[in-house]
Structure formats: C-alpha cells, structure tokens
Symmetry: C2
Subunit: 147 residues, 2 copies
DNA sequence: AATATAAAAGAGTTTTATGTCTTAATTTGA
DNA sequence: TCAAATTAAGACATAAAACTCTTTTATATT
C-alpha cells in the first residue's frame, strides 16, 4: 500500500503537528523516538517534505520542524504524493502499464470503487485534524509492544 | 498493494482458467506470453500455487497447467494469501506492529472501512467468474502498448 | 567572532524483491 | 527403452527499498 518511507512520513507529520502547537519546534531525534522510526532515515524523508513545503524547518540551536496553519491544512494525500508519487492514482492494481477503463484488467471495475474511496479518504483528512485526537489518546503512533 | 509476484499470479491463474476450458493444458511459455510476464519468474510462482493445490500441473509432453471445477471456485483472495501471505488482513496501514482497534493508528478507523470492502471484493470474486468475461474481451491481461 | 546546535546533503551499506539461468525429475510417445 | 517435452528445484544476478554514517551548511547564543 504505502512504502515504509511514506508510513514514516505520515506518522512524523502528525507527530510534528501535535508537538508544534504553540510555535514550538521539534527535532529529528524526538520525531524518531515519538514515532518509532530510524532517525537518519526519516531525516532524509523530512528533507523531501521540507523541500516540497509541506513542513517548515529551521537550522541551528532551538531549531527543528514545525507547522503553520497552512501546513496543517495539507491532507494525507499530499504527503503520499510527495513521497510515493501518484502511483496510487494512476497504477493498475494488476500491474498493467496504466489503469484505464478502455483497457481494463480483470478486477479494474471492482477495484475502481475501492480506489475511489481510498483516495477520498486520504484527501479529506488533513494533518491538523489528527492533532487533537492524538492529544486525547484516541490513537497511537507507536506500537505498545515497542515502547 | 499486491507484490509483483502476486500480480503475475492473479493474471496467470485467470489466463489458465480461460485456456484450460476443455481439459486442455497450457504451458509456462504460453502463460508468460499471454500475461506479459517473465517466464522463469512466473514458473517459480506457479510452483508455489501448484504445491498449494490452487492449480493442477502435469509434466512431460503435452503437459502444463490446468484447472478443474474445484480450482475454479477459488477466489482471488486465495491466490493473494498463497503468494503474499495474510498481511493484507493483519497489517497496519501505517506500519504499527499489528492493526488493532485497541491500539489504533491515526487512520485505522477510516482505513478499516476500505480494507473491509477490499477483502470482501477479493473473496467474493472466484477465478472461474473471470473466464467468460475474458473470452468476451471485456478486459485484458496485457497492456495494449506491450503487444 | 567563536562555538554549539540542528537540519541538509551525500555517500555508503544492508536487506528484500525481482528476475535469470542451469540442472534435475517426470511423463509421454515413438 | 529411448528421446523429447515439460514442470520442479535451486543457484545465481540485478535492482530497488530500507537503513546508516559522515560531512557540510545555516543559525542562534555567548
Ligand atoms: S486497469 Fe487494472 S486497475 Fe484499472
Ligand atoms: S492500526 Fe493502523 S490500520 Fe489498524
């Protein structure tokens, strides 16, 4: 579904959204800890997200990552597209060179419905929306087992 | 979503279902051609499917793969489980150690709906059902471009 | 200005997925 | 019974994904 990079990206972004609430910045080490992710690996991922303007960063002492109100309005889909590209939108589930109704694979019609709903889901959920639920402990970014 | 192996497996199985209609057997070379797949690679995949009794095979002259009426009743899900395992059923979409309502990731509740429908889809569609539609040209196993 | 801090960048490694090639085993038919 | 055909098996090769390490650049604080 998502690449590992993309999984880390989504978790990191939600984590940053929560931690940078009052203009605070959060460092890569804390993000790694808070999301159970390999530090150097997600550092590279954050570079991409930062270049693509999905998150802000500042170097130096007290530096780190943070999100402004505009960043918080980005959707999960924006992260996915930044990291995994638009394969989710364009690829055939059985690996035909392109998904299309004109040259459909056997499960195209059934899959199209699933796909539409999945895309709707990641597009309708903004990063900001997860922030409060995470605070409330309604969900987790780390497996209990790994703590 | 599916691994490349799994994509090949599904396409090959549907192809065999169509070609082995009247007890005929179809060889690995023809399967490779008919589904645009690397021959030696899918040979290994067919070995697995054969060992797991999802398809029949005979060696020697006029040998090859074929399906009986029971084989045709297997679902796409059976192929997926044989090749990719049950990760689709058990994995968390954000990579937590296990998907569960007790320790849900941020998009667990939204994803659960998608997942349920996806599983329903691959479980409800049997290999045999695709056979006639393939005959009718209603869908394809090869990209037009690659012919 | 000097120093410490933290992200950015880039090079390198390991692991997994994908794909190829060769040989063995089985079966059919001449 | 022998040769040809065809799957089964296993070793090997390549490519991509995942992960690590080191160096550079920017910035804030002293
Ligand atoms: S053609 Fe395969 S999913 Fe659309
Ligand atoms: S916990 Fe992540 S999908 Fe269920």
């Amino acid at each position: 579904m998502f690449s590992k990079s993309c999984e880390y990206a989504i978790k990191s972004m939600i984590f940053i959204a929560q931690k940078s609430k009052d203009g605070a910045r959060i460092g890569i080490k804390d993000i790694a800890k808070g999301t159970d992710s390999p530090q150097h690996f997600i550092a590279k991922i954050m570079q991409v997200l930062s270049r693509k303007k999905l998150v802000h960063s500042v170097k130096g002492p007290n530096g780190g990552f943070y999100m402004d109100n505009l960043d918080l309005q980005n959707s999960i889909a924006d992260i996915v597209k930044a990291i995994d590209g638009d394969g989710l939108y364009t690829d055939c589930v059985l690996g035909l060179h392109a998904c299309s109704a004109e040259n459909p694979c056997p499960i195209h019609s059934e899959y199209s419905v699933i796909k539409k709903n999945f895309i709707k889901m990641i597009e309708n959920n903004t990063i900001g929306e997860f922030r409060d639920n995470l605070d409330a402990g309604n969900f987790h970014l780390k497996s209990i087992l790994s703590v």
